[in-house]
């Protein structure tokens, strides 16, 4: 009976794991990068100095012309105040995908001339929408469910060896044995993390699985032809009042929320929201104090204290990890990376086990081609994004979009090359080619950083720049080692 259950679970684990795994590898990698989205934005804007002078509240008012300009364009701008993660003040707005930002000196309020970039929030958006809005969100939410199924079936398969094999890692054993050990080692110890992230992630996006309107209505709305609304240009219909001075409002907000507890200031057409910082604790309350944008008088203090909202806030706090210090943030990052290793190694094992029997079949070759595109291909595209950020001209119009296009062009190209080589029966060449190129791009990221960042020395301080470069270097070395072992 138990053997039958194990066999059945093995089938479920393999097929659900492989089909959702390629997508979940992408989700884990982008999620890990999104943990450091602010730090990555700093790497992607090398003109912004790593250290800045202390924050002066008077500097806030100097950002108001930029805020008003964005309001006139119909955006919802917000100012993020300096924090331990980011020493500068930024005026940001959401362009539908990423949060685009303009940095300001936190002491003087002067605008810092930095390149426009999609920034680290590019990975944040990719992580949960795949840049396709609600449809991507729904797909990712179902992938989260598939993750829970895969993990559950995996536990049943491996139940007997869960404790005895916990520390067993044999990298010098036969190839399949070694890959299995990598898979188990990247999975079992991180089960609490993976289950927590899958559960909280699916919970946060439960609206997409259980939508308030039926799926049929959503599809009908998608294909229905909408008459073009006859609305005037945004500039014509928006009359933006002269915004009030912000320092007194900040002081008033801090009396309610606490000193240093305001994280950002959001500007809407009918109110200015001084919102509690996400770093204040595991509950992502987004408690805010509102003022009138016309004369700055106090409007309301909003905090949702019910048990249901507390549950929601806790789930979001645990998943987004914005309250954590650097130690715990690194733990989230590395756990996410090992989650990606779990799915990467699982996909490789799936192919290895079936190569002898089905290696000549067209479906197997397509599956392997897709795996090459999804694993090394995606990492290659990620590094291309970093390279494009440094190599594209700073004066380029729609620069953030050009960075994003570079990412997708490289991903499509690598997926296509991988697929063609697999169909041609040269899968090993496909793996080697992509892993080799990945290694080259990753190792050369440090020289690129040193050459394209002003005021840099080889012995630069351990900042976000050095850490990002070192992570890329490590990725490059691992890629070359994999090429060597193939």
């Amino acid at each position: 009976m138990q053997d039958t259950l194990r066999t059945r679970m093995g089938w479920l684990h393999a097929w659900i794991g492989f089909s959702a795994g390629l997508l979940l590898f992408f989700v884990f990698v982008t999620g890990s990068l999104a943990v450091f989205d602010t730090e990555l934005t700093r790497w992607l804007q090398p003109e912004v100095p790593p250290q800045a002078a202390p924050f002066s509240v008077q500097a806030l008012d100097r950002t108001l012309p930029d805020v008003q300009s964005l309001l006139r364009q119909g955006e919802k701008p917000f100012i993020t105040l300096p924090s331990a993660r980011d020493p500068v003040m930024r005026v940001q707005h959401h362009d539908g995908y990423e949060f685009l930002n303009v940095p300001f000196n936190p002491e003087t309020g002067e605008r810092i001339n930095a390149r426009a970039t999609a920034g680290g929030t590019f990975f944040y958006d990719l992580h949960y929408t795949m840049r396709t809005g609600l449809y991507g969100e729904t797909l990712i939410a179902f992938a989260g469910l598939a993750l829970l199924v895969t993990v559950g079936s995996g536990i049943i398969i491996h139940l007997k060896g869960l404790i005895p094999d916990l520390l067993l890692f044999r990298p010098f054993a036969a190839r399949l044995r070694a890959w299995l050990d990598v898979h188990i080692l990247a999975s079992v110890p991180f089960l609490p993390f993976v289950i927590m992230m899958a559960y909280t992630g699916t919970f946060i996006r439960a609206r997409t699985i259980f939508p308030p309107v039926s799926y049929i209505a959503s599809f009908e709305a998608l294909f229905a032809t909408h008459p073009s609304p006859d609305v005037p240009a945004k500039e014509e219909r928006l009359e933006i009042p002269l915004l009030p001075s912000l320092p007194p409002l900040l002081s008033q907000s801090e009396q309610i929320l606490g000193i240093g507890q305001v994280g950002h200031i959001l500007f809407l057409s009918d109110s200015i929201l001084f919102t509690r910082t996400d770093m204040s604790g595991p509950l992502l309350t987004r408690e805010h104090v509102d003022f009138s944008p016309r004369d700055g008088h106090f409007l309301r203090h909003v905090l949702l204290p019910t048990p249901v909202t507390h549950a929601q806030q806790l789930m979001e706090g645990l998943h987004f990890a914005r309250w954590t210090g650097s130690g715990l943030r690194w733990m989230y990052f590395l756990s996410g990376v090992l989650g990606a290793v779990m799915f990467g190694s699982g996909s490789v094992i799936f192919l290895m086990k079936r190569r002898r029997q089905s290696g000549e079949r067209i479906m197997f070759r397509i599956a392997e081609g897709l795996t090459i595109g999804a694993l090394p291909g995606f990492l290659l595209a990620t590094l291309t994004f970093f390279w494009a950020n440094r190599l594209l001209p700073v004066s380029l119009t729609s620069r953030p979009l050009a960075e994003v296009h570079s990412f997708f062009v490289m991903w499509c190209f690598s997926a296509l090359v991988g697929l063609l080589l697999c169909l041609w029966g040269r899968s090993t060449l496909g793996w080697k080619l992509q892993l080799g190129l990945l290694g080259v791009l990753a190792i050369l990221l440090t020289p690129l950083d040193l050459l394209t960042r002003s005021g840099v020395s080889v012995f630069h301080a351990p900042t976000v720049f050095a850490t990002t470069d070192l992570c890329a270097l490590l990725l490059g070395l691992i890629s070359f080692q994999m090429v060597r072992r193939l």
């Binding site: 520390l167 067993l168 890692f169 990298p171 010098f172 110890p189 991180f190 090992l338």
Partner: protein
């Protein structure tokens, strides 16, 4: 800092766990070794101590810190044990 301490304590506990596990002993070619009573108790005590330390440092984040430290300790000890086994294999031959 507390994370480092937790990782150290968990790693110590997991090394003791490996010393109590026949499969791990066979892998490292430690055929004659027999774990003492202190080692058998110590593997649980280290993990409990790590949890108490994380609880003492910050109760709100205790579970997350302890679980994360345990996971990383598993990786560290597993890689360390693999290197140790390889070394013993080379030494014996």
């Amino acid at each position: 800092m507390i994370i480092v301490l937790c990782i150290l304590l968990c790693s110590a506990g997991l090394v003791m766990q490996a010393l109590c596990e026949p499969k791990m002993l066979r892998f490292a070619k430690l055929f004659q070794y027999k774990a003492s009573y202190h080692v058998r108790i110590g593997r649980f005590m280290s993990l409990c101590l790590a949890f108490l330390c994380s609880l003492w440092a910050e109760p709100k984040t205790a579970i997350v810190v302890w679980a994360g430290s345990f996971s990383f300790s598993v990786i560290i000890v597993a890689i360390g044990w693999a290197v140790f086994s390889r070394y013993r294999e080379a030494f014996r031959s």
